[in-house]
Amino acid sequence: MVSPAIALAFLPLLLTMIIRYRYYFVLLYRAVLIRWVRDCLTGLSREERAFQYILTHATPGDAQSILDTFDHWCSKVEFISNIGPKKGKILDRLLQEHCPITVLELGTHCGYSTVRIARSLPIGARIYSVEMDERNAQVAEKIIRLAGFDEDMVELIVRPSDEVIPRLREDFGVERLDLVFMDHWKRCYLPDLQLLEGSGLLGEGSIILADNVIFPGAPNFLRHARRSGLYEVRVHRAMLEYIRGIRDGMAELTFLGIK
């Protein structure tokens, strides 16, 4: 029988843990608990709730308004791991600098980042957006259409990314990818990167932008990118979107070409 005094001695440890990892607890609460409760209450998925909110609050056809409403919903109402406004700025800057013609997006989720990329692309550019989940893809399509982007601009592919990448050339006639934006399962970053390398779609100067490389983190991906010598790696340090105090980063890989 452990005496109460010894148990009490563990109190400082408990307090320390709570204080030190408070942001993670907040994240847990917002991303898991609230979602679960709402799922039970409404019977809708989180993405559908987000869509409803946007439908009622945003101006159709106005990408900026849709993004703002999304941000508001994610920070005030519920939590969805989008790229967020701050890291989105980095993305916008990259797009402005490089003006990519062909963009591959892995992990559409709700279409937030698709809208974000599409609105700053030049005319004639094209996004291939890959989403595995059927329901999410439906929501994403609606949101993309709501923002006013048609099928010529955004091609939504509802299939797992590792099936899509080898067939991009044959099925979609893609010759070269100028920008690849990764925001799907962190575990798939590395295999997908290797698939991309193998497919030959990356040319010199192609950019691969991977979100959330620090939290939740994709260490193997980063290690490979640094060690392979194929890329020039830059990690943009930032905070996790819609929540305070958790550090995160985006990795920007510039393909140097195979020598």
């Binding site: 005496s3 009490l8 001695a9 563990f10 400082p12 440890l13 962190k186 983190g217 260490p219």
Partner: protein, 936 residues
């Protein structure tokens, strides 16, 4: 060797080319001309290799001499230069060929110069000559041998002139044979004949030059570090010049002197090597030095400072251990009464059954309790063994001596460290300090270096922000409030932990009264457990709270240390207060036992007396004799238990908190949904402050308890030894470098001060118990005395002659002691005030230096401006001049114009470097800017 040489000389050539092509060309030309004209030097050169080596040097020097004359007719020279380039190429070809030759002909070296001349003069006839030379070589080999045979035995007294002259003769004799084939033979021979007289004076000149060259190389080696060259080049030059020096240093002396010199040089080298080896050996002798260095390179000096501190502590404990072991434990074990002879040296009857159980021994009960390890075992016999060893006195003096020694060492170390701190803070050059001194040069691990780099960057940012904020100071109230709040929280925490320990101690007393046997392990070890756990977890909480305060990390560290210190001290003193209570209880028990003892004895005698009055005194087995509780042993036992549990907690924390965590993080990372290594659990960092404080408090406990348990220093030694290896391993194996690596230089004295405070605070209770509480009546070396101090009086009375006691009593007379104390106070006051004065003088000197510096800066600034203006004017003038003369040349290298002529005298071949390194003459605006930026 020849292959090596070849490489070296080639690189030499390359460097010359790097440094100044055009100069070199012209110089070469000059030299060639000289050679072709004079031809005197032909025979003077003893070896072609050296000659070639020297070529560069000599020609450079010549060039610098020639330079001034050349300057005037430079225009004309420039025309030549084109020409030179072509000749230069040819020359290089020759050189290469020569080198090839040199490879072939190692033994005979005399001919090369000659060959060179010939080649320079007629390159066309080279092939012919080459064939002939092969014949020549063979002859010469013989000849050289002859010469050596002649020279070595007979030439000891002869001066170099004679030496050379003799050689000349020989050459003359030889020349007809050797060079007769070549066309130019006859005239060169005649010149040789004429030159014999001149040669004697020429050789020393050459030697002089060689000496100069060697000196120059030496100088180059020493100044190489500061040269703005790429590392590769530096290495090449270093190697090459070292070789050069090595080769020709020995050749400088003459005759016997040369040998002596060579011998001296060799011995010097041997000596230096020996010294280096000795140094290495010394380093190898310092225990754990390599380990600590390795850690230092991985984790920076702050982590290493902990290990150095640990080693220092180990040394001190070694001496403490030596004292207690050698003067107390061993004599008692060897010469004292053996186990079982007395009641205090025997396990009581009721405990005998369980006395050897591991659990009992682990608690330091049973046989461990009744052994030399504890106070109670020692006998109060005045002198033991054939040595008449004064055991009680020795015990007392060792107890006092260990503490005195510790005081001495700590204070001495503090004083030594105090010298290293400069007086006053240097806030005036904050950024300069940061720029030039913030790097930790001991770091050898890329990750740590990254961390350090990031740390310096952030510190710069912070400093800039601070600088800005110091001007506007808004939100000071919020910061103050947060700081107060943090301190309040910490105080709450301290009070809580204090209360918890108090509560636990009270409870344990209750348990003790009821008899510990009824309770389990948890209850018995509750106090230690709670103390260890609180000591472990509260610092973490403090750390979290301290983020509120937003202090600079160094200040934050000191606050953190102070708080942990307070916590530990509170815990320790609570523990001691509880012990005091226990002592009172034991003493009350002792009184009762004393009473019972007399009754028991009376019973014993009453029961046996009637039978036969003349019988031997009754022998009772010592285990059966009733005995007092012996509070001293109890105190010692408590301390030993505390130390053991503390050590165990430390090691278990290390294994679970660091090792297990590292293993989990490492191997679960492959199948986890977030990044464990960089994310939430991550690897642990080495907690320097916590570890240092743990060490300090551990030492404090040793000091406190060592009087009652002589085994404590031994235990501590063991603990330190194990923790040295364990922690070294744990640090290298499962910790990552700290995110904020900072240097430990400032904090070492802080630790020392803490140690001193702890030492003082830990000796207080020990002294109190020694002085004021009477010792137990039936255990320990002081049993039967009123106070432990009485042992000194006793010794004075019995072991010293009577006059000594008298003197002592006079000396301890207050009439003498008081003035002495007064004198002491006065002396301290005097020393303190003088040191203060010195400090003030130092500060003033510093200020003076600073102001002088600033003045100098201003002066320099002015001077720089002035010279810049002048330079610009000069440049304008030069431009006009060159424009007027530009019809002559398409001079792409404009480095020569008026200004650079000043430089050429010192470093002739560096013109290319000058043009590259600073456009000082060319662009007068730039240096101005540079000077500004440097200043800020």
């Amino acid at each position: 060797m020849p292959r090596h040489k070849l490489i070296a000389s080639e690189s030499d050539v390359r460097i010359e080319v790097d440094e100044g092509k055009d100069n070199e060309f012209s110089l070469y030309y000059v030299e060639v001309e000289e050679n072709s004209k004079g031809g005197k030097e032909k025979q003077a050169t003893r070896d072609g290799k050296r000659r070639r080596e020297r070529n560069g040097e000599v020609s450079r020097r010549r060039a610098s001499e020639k330079r001034s004359t050349e300057m005037s007719n430079k225009r004309a020279e420039k025309k030549h230069e084109k020409h030179h380039k072509t000749t230069r190429k040819e020359g290089e070809k020759h050189r290469k060929k020569q080198r090839r030759n040199a490879d072939e002909e190692e033994a005979e070296e005399e001919s090369s110069k000659e060959k060179k001349n010939i080649k320079n003069e007629r390159t066309k006839t080279l092939k012919l000559e080459d064939e002939k030379e092969k014949d020549v070589k063979k002859k010469r080999k013989k000849h050289v041998k002859n010469e050596e045979d002649d020279a070595n035995p007979g030439k000891t007294k002869q001066k170099d002139c004679q030496d050379v002259a003799l050689k000349e003769k020989k050459k003359k004799r030889k020349k007809p044979e050797t060079t007769s084939e070549s066309e130019s033979n006859s005239d060169s021979e005649s010149k040789d004949n004429q030159a014999v007289g001149v040669l004697g004076s020429l050789t020393p000149e050459e030697l002089e030059k060689l000496k100069e060259a060697v000196d120059e190389r030496k100088k180059l080696i020493t100044t190489l570090k500061g040269k703005p060259w790429p590392m590769k080049k530096k290495l090449v030059i270093l190697r090459e010049s070292q070789e050069f020096v090595e080769k020709y240093e020995g050749a400088l002396g003459k005759g016997k002197g040369r040998k002596l010199y060579a011998y001296k040089v060799m011995m010097m080298k041997k000596w230096m090597k020996f010294q280096r080896d000795l140094e290495n050996f010394k380093t190898a002798c310092i225990p754990w030095e390599m380990k600590i260095k390795e850690i230092e390179s991985h984790f920076g000096s702050s982590v290493a400072s902990y290990f150095i501190f640990l080693r220092w502590m180990y040394g001190i404990n070694m001496i403490l251990f030596g004292l207690t072991f050698g003067l107390v434990m061993v004599p008692e074990a060897l010469m004292g009464k053996p186990y079982g002879s007395m009641s205090r040296k025997t396990v009581p009857r009721e405990e005998e059954a369980s006395a050897m159980n591991f659990a009992v021994l682990w608690d330091f009960g049973g046989y461990a309790k009744y052994s030399v390890l504890f106070y109670g075992y020692y006998n109060n016999q005045r002198a033991i063994g054939w040595l008449k060893f004064r055991m009680p006195l020795s015990y007392f003096l060792v107890g006092v001596g260990t503490v005195a020694y510790s005081y001495m060492v700590v204070i001495r170390t503090m004083a030594r460290n105090a010298n290293e701190e400069g007086g006053g803070d240097d806030t005036s050059f904050n950024f300069s300090w940061k720029t030039f001194t913030s790097w930790d040069y001991l770091i050898g691990n890329p990750e740590t270096a990254d961390n350090k780099f990031a740390c310096i960057t952030t510190s710069f940012k912070e400093a800039i922000v601070e600088e800005q904020e110091s001007k506007k100071d808004d939100n000071i109230h919020l910061t103050r409030f947060l700081r107060v709040l943090a301190n309040f929280l910490v105080l709450c925490c301290l009070a809580g932990s204090g209360y918890l320990i108090y509560f636990v101690v009270r409870r344990s007393q209750k348990f003790a009264l009821e008899g510990l046997e009824n309770y389990g392990w948890w209850e018995r070890n509750e106090v230690n457990m709670v103390m260890s756990l609180l000591g472990m977890f509260c610092p973490m909480l403090f750390d979290v709270i301290s983020t509120l305060e937003n202090y600079h990390p160094r200040i934050a560290l000191q606050w953190q240390l102070g708080r942990i210190f307070a916590l530990f001290l509170g815990n320790l003193y609570t523990f001691i207060i509880a012990l005091m209570d226990a002592i009172q209880l034991k003493r009350a028990e002792e009184e009762i036992v004393k009473k019972n003892m007399t009754i028991w004895q009376a019973n014993l005698y009453n029961g046996t007396m009637p039978d036969n009055s003349t019988a031997l005194p009754i022998t009772v087995h010592p285990g059966d004799v009733p005995r007092g509780p012996c509070w001293e042993t109890m105190v010692g036992q408590e301390f030993v238990r505390l130390i053991i549990s503390d050590t165990m907690t430390t090691y278990i924390t290390l294994l679970i908190g660091d090792f297990l965590r590292a293993v989990l993080v490492r191997f679960l990372n492959n199948c986890w949904c977030w990044d464990l290594e960089y994310g939430f659990p991550s690897y642990s960092e080495f907690d320097v402050s916590g570890n240092v404080l743990g060490l300090i408090f551990n030492q404090g406990m040793i000091w406190m308890g060592a009087f009652y348990a002589p085994c404590l220093p031994a235990l501590n030694l063991l603990r330190l030894h194990v923790s040295m290896y364990l922690q070294c391993w744990a640090v290298m194996c499962c910790n990552v470098p700290q995110e904020r690596v900072f240097k430990a230089s400032g904090s070492s004295n802080f630790y020392m001060a803490m140690l001193l405070v702890i030492l003082f605070l830990s000796t207080l209770p020990a002294i109190y118990t020694i002085v004021s509480i009477p010792p137990s009546f039936d255990c320990g070396p002081f049993s039967g005395k009123n106070r432990m101090l009485d042992v000194i009086q006793e010794t004075l009375e019995t072991d010293f002659p009577a006059w000594f006691g008298k003197v002592f009593s006079y000396a301890s007379n207050p009439g003498l002691v008081l003035p002495f104390l007064l004198l002491l106070v006065l002396a301290i006051y005097y020393l303190q005030s003088t040191s203060k004065t010195y400090k003030r003088v130092n500060m003033e000197l510093k200020k003076k230096l600073q102001t002088q510096n600033e003045e100098n800066k201003k002066k320099n600034k002015l001077a720089a401006l002035k010279t810049a203006n002048e330079l610009e004017q000069a440049r304008k003038a030069g431009e006009q001049h060159s424009n007027s003369a530009s019809d002559l040349g398409e001079n792409t290298q404009n480095s020569e114009p008026p200004v650079s002529s000043t430089h050429t005298t010192t470093r002739p071949p560096a013109s290319r470097g000058h043009t590259a390194s600073g456009h000082l003459p060319g662009h007068p605006q730039q240096p101005q800017k540079n000077s500004h930026s440097n200043r800020r």
